[in-house]
């Protein structure tokens, strides 16, 4: 049986990789991911994990080593943050297009500059279109559970895609939480040995990663697009099996007190749990509010989101972005949510706010302010900003 243990979330994530019995780990230490890879290096050095730990001089090489190892048939794990992911970027595209199911634990951190080691989502949003399956955890238990499930999802023969598990840097990585850690045998039953589909083998040579001439490239991209779309049912199957085995149910779109809500705050990551406190506070005052969490970011859960937001009591959505698309919509989550609802007839209004950049805490009062923005929007029928496109940052010193 799983034991509830007080454990640092980073260590729990590294333990998930050990329990998945990874063959290769390649990573470069970067704050706030460091404890994850330190712990894995220690496990390998002590002989507690029979894996190859490939030390490298940069994240670009770390991801290259991961893709190569995966193409050779290994179960591969890596972890990074912020600038590290940005440096990996070129090879991040290769992991998905070569269909190498590398599992990445991404401790979300702001991108420079100014240099920030603290949490927001600008690192992951930069990788939105890399073709990785992308899932958000909002607490330590979820980060541990989703890291385990990532192996099952990515390595499924019907999927064969890399998976990025997102959890907020420091806010989650560096805290000690009570987490149910499974017995190794329970995980061995849940995550069977990896059976690669297409392997580099000198006895049966193939070419992985060739040139795609203009006559082939389009078809290759369509194949990749269909692969990530078709991962949706597999993700749900894995969520379902996890719930059956261990009793914790995950959904692509999660809600809190949204059933009869008029205004919901939609966000990703650890802010959701803080926003739930604000919801309880406002509910006590009789306000019909709730939260919606976009747990699955890629593939985008269109149907689940529409089911939650359309033809329901929800009249107003306030989307909280933890990153700015400069000169743009202004947040990536806002623009995607709006676009997903565009063709729906009975849909709520959607307004966006940006907050929690570069590690700035969001206070209870600020969550309340976000709901008030939603209220004003609902009352006036229009975006309360001077211009709808202008970035509305909550918690900004004007």
């Amino acid at each position: 049986m799983a034991k509830r243990t007080g454990i640092e979330v980073s260590i729990a994530i590294a333990e998930a990789a050990r329990q998945a019995n990874v063959d290769v780990v390649s990573a470069y230490p970067i704050t706030p991911q460091t404890h994850i890879v330190e712990h894995l290096a220690q496990l390998v050095a002590d002989g507690d994990l029979d894996a190859e730990y490939i030390t490298v001089e940069s994240e670009h090489t770390a991801m290259s080593a991961c893709v190569g190892a995966s193409a050779a048939g290994a179960r591969v794990f890596t972890s990074t943050s912020s600038q590290g992911l940005a440096l990996m970027n070129e090879i991040v595209y290769l992991a998905s297009s070569l269909r190498t199911p590398v599992i990445m634990a991404l401790a979300n951190r702001a991108l420079s500059g100014p240099i920030s080691i603290w949490n927001d989502h600008s690192d992951v949003m930069n990788e939105r279109d890399t073709g990785w399956i992308c899932i958000f955890a909002n607490n330590g238990q979820e980060a541990y559970d989703l890291t385990l499930m990532a192996f099952r999802i990515g390595e499924d023969r019907r999927v064969m895609l890399p998976v990025m598990v997102n959890f907020d840097g420091f806010i989650l990585t560096h805290v000690i939480e009570p987490i149910h850690i499974f017995e190794d045998q329970e995980i061995a039953d849940f995550i069977p040995p990896y059976e690669p589909l297409c392997v580099l083998d000198t006895d049966n040579p193939i070419t992985v990663g060739p040139v795609g001439v203009p006559d082939v490239y389009t078809e290759a991209k369509k194949q990749q697009e269909m692969a990530i779309r078709e991962s949706r049912p597999v993700i749900e199957e894995v969520f379902e099996e996890f719930a059956r085995r261990y009793g914790r149910r995950y959904r692509p779109v999660e809600t809190y007190r949204a059933d009869d809500a008029e205004i919901v705050l939609l966000a990703q990551g650890s802010v959701i749990e803080a926003a739930e406190v604000a919801v309880d506070h406002l509910r006590d005052q009789g306000k019909k509010v709730g939260t919606v969490e976009l747990r699955l970011w890629r593939p985008f859960p269109f149907d689940d989101l529409r089911e939650v937001l359309c033809s329901t009591s929800i009249k107003q959505v306030v989307v909280l972005d933890r990153c700015i698309s400069f000169g743009g919509p202004p947040g990536p989550v806002l623009s995607e949510v709006r676009s997903a609802l565009y063709l729906e007839k009975d849909k709520p209004m959607v307004v966006g706010v940006v907050a929690g950049l570069g590690g700035r805490d969001i206070s209870l009062e600020e969550y309340v302010e976000m709901f008030e923005i939603g209220e004003e929007c609902l009352r006036t029928g229009k975006d309360p900003g001077e211009e709808p496109e202008l970035v509305k940052i909550v918690g900004l010193r004007e």
Partner: protein, 97 residues
């Protein structure tokens, strides 16, 4: 297995990998060139420098030990012309008849 000439996205091998080793021979790159190397066998010393340097492995040794470029694959880069110690290679304009 030779791939279909123009596979659909469903027919394309998984992740665009190439399951047949050495199938680049089907892809004839010879029509890229504008200049072709011509070997003067009266000057050739059969050293094989052209064969070693050719990035396309286009040079082939004939039964008398001379080297000649296979124009179906030679891209006309001129490295053989540059490296030949006997200076027996000239680059001549490719003329399509």
């Amino acid at each position: 297995m030779k791939l279909k000439e123009r596979p659909t996205w469903k027919e394309l091998p998984f992740a665009c990998c190439i399951p047949e080793p050495g199938n680049s021979v089907y892809y004839k790159t010879g029509d890229w060139k504008t200049l072709k190397p011509v070997v003067d066998k009266t000057k050739c010393i059969k050293c094989g420098t052209c064969w070693i340097f050719c990035p396309e492995y286009a040079y082939e040794e004939d039964e008398y030990g001379y080297y000649e470029s296979n124009y179906e694959y030679c891209k006309g880069c001129g490295i053989c012309y540059r490296e030949c110690p006997a200076q027996c290679i000239t680059m001549e304009e490719e003329v399509v008849e």
